[in-house]
């Protein structure tokens, strides 16, 4: 069956894609066995799910993901995956009842995998993760990733750097205050170090851009980037970069092929789902009915993993009561409104109707947000590192120009008119304004705190408050 062959190819392509992007490999055979619910392929599927979830959370595959997976016990791994899937909305009861020793349930896992693939649009995320080092200013792109892994390992394995006993009950408040002071100052000093590093980075980059002005390897800039200069100085590194780029292009090729063959995969998944439903209809729980007493659907003998707050029973009862009270309360108001509505209907104009509709819509959306739908996780995207490009004006004065990295990544290859370039001076002005505003806020907050402190001190008879002279000026 050529169709069967095509399906097989598609599945193999998917496995290749997973491997390309750093996940531990899954055999195509394993995925197909999962369709038929074979039990020996459960472990690789759990592992793959774990890695996909970690990928979604962190944005890239890291050696720490593998080490943390290896360190977790089987139960913990299963619990973690179940919890994360539920957080993302996969509320399948059967999935939640899969056994924690990873013995059965590969078909369910396959379904969960496909669901996650689609929901989090992992393929697109893979696509965004490409590297194009030659246009970057950061030279140690590949070396630093390895070092970062090493740093984490050394920090964990060292006996030192265990945190001081924060929150240790034996510490008196005075000691806790001292600890907080220490950590605060350390933080401030680290920020200063960061500041000087950034300063150094900008100075050195400017120097390189300046000295290579006039020569360029790409149409958007008029000078070489740091990376390009590094390559020119050490041509032996070019081989390595070349091999990395080749890897990258094969990865992208696979992703493009996937684009074309995707539909086959989803049709195959439909067949998996069909098979499962068929199985269920034939009377057996697809998770395997081992125990004799599974005659019930209440899963009394199986543990369902679902994270609910412990007060859910009382919460539900209370909400019900509140709802009933509200209905009773507003019943009379509702009747009046209905009468009004009947009388108004005959006399209302179309324009008024539209306006009313608009108002109602806005109110509804406001109330909806107040109802507290599941709060989205605080996924503030990390601010893209600005890319610095040197542009010399015709007047001879230099105006280094800033390109926002996020925009540059997506508009790579398109014309540069779409990139948002900002002159550094404007950017500095804008940041200065923000800084001034924050400073004012800080001063106000400080003054409030000082007033509170003064009130407390004047209230307690046996204390004397000695303020450092700088703060005294603020108080006046």
């Amino acid at each position: 069956m050529s169709r069967g062959v095509q399906v097989r190819e598609t599945i193999e392509l998917l496995c290749k894609i997973f491997k390309d992007n750093g996940m531990s490999g899954v055999e195509a055979e394993a995925l197909r066995k999962a369709k038929f619910d074979k039990s020996d392929v459960c472990f690789p599927l759990w592992r793959l799910l774990f890695e996909m979830i970690s990928f979604c959370q962190h944005g890239l595959m890291n050696s720490s993901i593998f080490t943390s997976f290896a360190h977790m016990k089987t139960e913990d791994q299963v619990m973690y995956v179940k919890k994360e899937m539920q957080k993302r909305g996969y509320l399948s009861r059967v999935f939640a009842t899969l056994p924690t020793d990873m013995s059965t349930g590969s078909r369910e896992l396959m379904l969960a995998l496909a669901w996650l693939l689609n929901k989090e649009d992992i393929i697109s995320k893979f696509m965004e993760n490409r590297a194009s080092p030659m246009d970057d200013d950061v030279v140690s792109l590949y070396e630093s990733q390895g070092q970062v892994g090493l740093y984490f390992q050394s920090v964990e394995s060292e006996e030192g750097w265990s945190q001081p006993a924060l929150g240790d009950k034996q510490q008196s408040p005075a000691q806790r205050v001292q600890q907080m002071l220490v950590l605060n100052t350390k933080l401030k000093m680290s920020l200063r170090l960061l500041h000087s590093s950034q300063h150094e980075y900008a100075t050195l980059t400017h120097r390189i851009h300046n000295s290579t002005y006039g020569v360029s390897l790409s149409p958007n800039m008029n000078h070489l980037t740091t990376m390009q200069v590094q390559m020119l100085r050490h041509p032996q590194h070019m081989k390595r970069v070349l091999s990395l780029l080749e890897q990258d292009s094969t990865r992208l090729e696979h992703l493009m092929q996937w684009d074309e063959k995707e539909t086959l995969f989803w049709e195959w998944m439909e067949s998996v789902l069909e098979l499962k439903l068929q199985h269920v209809r034939e009377g057996g729980d697809s998770a395997g009915a081992d125990s004799d007493s599974v005659n019930t659907n209440t899963c009394a003998t199986r543990t369902v993993f679902l994270e609910v707050p412990p007060t859910i029973g009382s919460d539900i009862a209370e909400s019900r009561r509140n709802l009933m009270n509200m209905i009773l309360h507003y019943e009379s108001a509702i009747e009046r409104l209905e009468d009004l509505w009947a009388t108004k209907r005959s006399t209302v104009s179309e324009w008024e109707l539209d306006k009313l509709l608009g108002d109602i819509n806005t109110e509804i959306s406001q109330l909806q947000s107040c109802l507290g739908q599941a709060p989205k996780e605080n996924t503030v995207p990390p601010p893209g590192r600005p890319r610095l490009t040197l542009v010399k004006n015709k007047g001879g004065s230099r105006a280094p120009v800033k390109v926002s990295n996020a925009v540059a990544a997506t508009s790579h290859g398109r014309d540069s008119a779409e990139e948002s370039t900002v002159s550094v001076h404007d950017e500095i002005g804008r940041l200065q304004q923000e800084a001034d505003m924050l400073e004012k806020e800080l001063k106000d907050m400080r003054r409030d705190c000082l007033h509170k402190l003064n009130r407390i001190v004047s209230a307690s008879p046996n204390t004397v408050c000695i303020m450092p002279p700088q703060l005294r000026k603020l108080c006046r």
């Binding site: 945190q163 200063r192 050195l204």
Partner: protein, 447 residues
């Protein structure tokens, strides 16, 4: 990483001259004596040069990153002459500020009168130096506490630099005067300077003239001790702290040699900023040929020096132990944080475990956070093994205590206060200063 040195007053300028001399001596040490392969040697030299000197465009003689300030001309011209004579380094032109009037050993004269006058010029000179640096590691100010210029103008300059460079790290190296000092009002000067420095500087490295004198006479065997010898000892200590050394557990080697990194380890608490440096061994040149040292012995002595508040390896009180009395008070010297720098060969045999004793540090700091070790295989100052311990400990407050007492006694009878009030201070400023320093002494005693 570059450090800009600010030399203030007569003492500051002399110490500064010696400091750059000492660095140059270290860098020009014979390659055979240093114990490391040439490539490592040249890396070390490169790094150290980058920290303290900048390159000149026309000649190969490196130029110190220093700004010199004094109200009299003698010290500055002398120091510059000596630098030129050595032929190995120079002071930059036009980075000196000197006037003819002097400050008369009056802190108020320096702070209230001279300070604002010279503010613009000092700032400009410092900005020029800062622009030459790729990466400004911090400022090192050298001053003495007794005089008028170093202390008064020094306090003013530190405040001014803090306003202009809020992100920079500032280390002040101060010299306590002799207990039986020559200047009557040295206690007032010391108290006022220190209280002002405490607000603005990040760390204050304290050197006592009395202790340095003892080191010179007992360890180094110098008969007639001049300020030159004392300054040499000061610079020995400073260079052992500031010269490159790597932290053992780190992959980010360059950033841990930053002054800022060292400071965030040593002075993480805003109330504890006083640092002391202890070196071991310190022997005269004559005995250096005949002495060999072992790491275990050196480290044991160093630890006892720390606990018993000693600054020399002779005359240490070995009876002091790191044990609390049954009532809970600790009769030994506790530290907030300490940093050990080992220089020399056989570093693997050196075991700093004696310092990782939780009794030495307060209970709310974990011993790992309070103690760090850096190593440098290149031999230092001709010693095949040398160690220096920089600690933020109670011993720094002993001289402070004495001086506070004396100054308070004088203030109680308002002796000489009118000299200060006439120049712009008020009695409230005095009181503020006393209060700040009492607070410092009490927080150290609570360690």
């Amino acid at each position: 990483m570059s450090i800009i040195t600010l030399q203030l007053g007569q003492c500051g300028n002399q110490v500064g001259g010696q400091l750059f001399n000492a660095v140059m001596d270290d860098l020009h040490a014979s390659p055979l004596a240093v114990n490391v392969p040439p490539r490592q040697n040249s890396d070390y030299i490169q790094e150290s040069k980058e920290t303290f000197f900048s390159e000149q465009k026309n000649s190969s003689v490196p130029v110190a990153r220093a700004v010199m300030v004094d109200m009299e001309t003698k010290a500055i011209t002398q120091t510059m002459m000596e630098a030129k004579k050595s032929g190995r380094w120079l002071y930059p032109d036009k980075q000196q500020l000197h006037q003819k009037r002097g400050s008369g050993n009056n802190w108020a004269h320096g702070y209230c009168l001279h300070g604002p006058e010279v503010r613009e010029s000092i700032l400009e000179m410092v900005q020029q130096e800062a622009e030459k640096c790729d990466r400004l590691g911090g400022f090192l100010s050298l001053l003495s506490l007794a005089g008028g210029t170093g202390s008064g103008v020094g306090a003013y300059a530190t405040e001014m630099l803090r306003e202009e460079f809020p992100q920079a790290f500032m280390v002040n190296q101060v010299v306590w005067p002799y207990k039986t000092g020559e200047v009557i009002v040295q206690n007032y000067n010391a108290v006022l300077t220190l209280s002002h420095l405490y607000q603005t500087a990040d760390a204050i490295v304290v050197m006592e003239n009395d202790e340095l004198h003892k080191i010179c006479s007992q360890l180094l065997g110098i008969k007639r001790i001049s300020f030159l010898d004392i300054n040499r000892v000061i610079c020995h200590k400073l260079t052992s702290f500031l010269q490159p050394a790597q932290q053992t557990h780190s992959t980010f080697t360059s950033s841990t040699q930053d002054l800022g990194w060292k400071l965030q380890h040593l002075v993480p608490h805003p109330e504890h900023k006083l640092l002391t440096i202890r070196n071991i061994p310190q022997v005269s040149e004559r005995s250096m040929e005949f002495s060999t040292f072992q790491w275990t012995g050196l480290l044991k002595h160093l630890r006892q020096m720390l606990i018993a508040s000693a600054y020399m390896e002779e005359g240490i009180d070995w009876r002091v132990k790191a044990v609390q009395t049954p009532r809970g008070s600790s009769p030994y010297d506790r530290s907030l944080a300490a940093s050990l720098i080992l220089r020399g060969k056989d570093l693997t045999s050196a075991d700093p475990g004696v310092f990782k004793d939780p009794a030495l540090f307060p209970s709310w700091m974990s011993p790992e956070m309070s103690f760090s070790v850096s190593t440098q295989p290149r031999a230092f100052y001709g010693y095949e093994k040398s160690a220096s311990l920089i600690s933020n400990s109670r011993s720094a407050t002993r001289p402070l205590d004495h001086i506070l007492d004396k100054a308070w006694n004088m203030f109680a009878s308002r002796a000489y206060v009118h000299q200060y009030v006439r120049r712009g201070l008020s009695e409230e400023d005095f009181l503020d200063a006393f209060v700040t320093l009492e607070q410092v002494v009490s927080s150290y005693s609570n360690l």
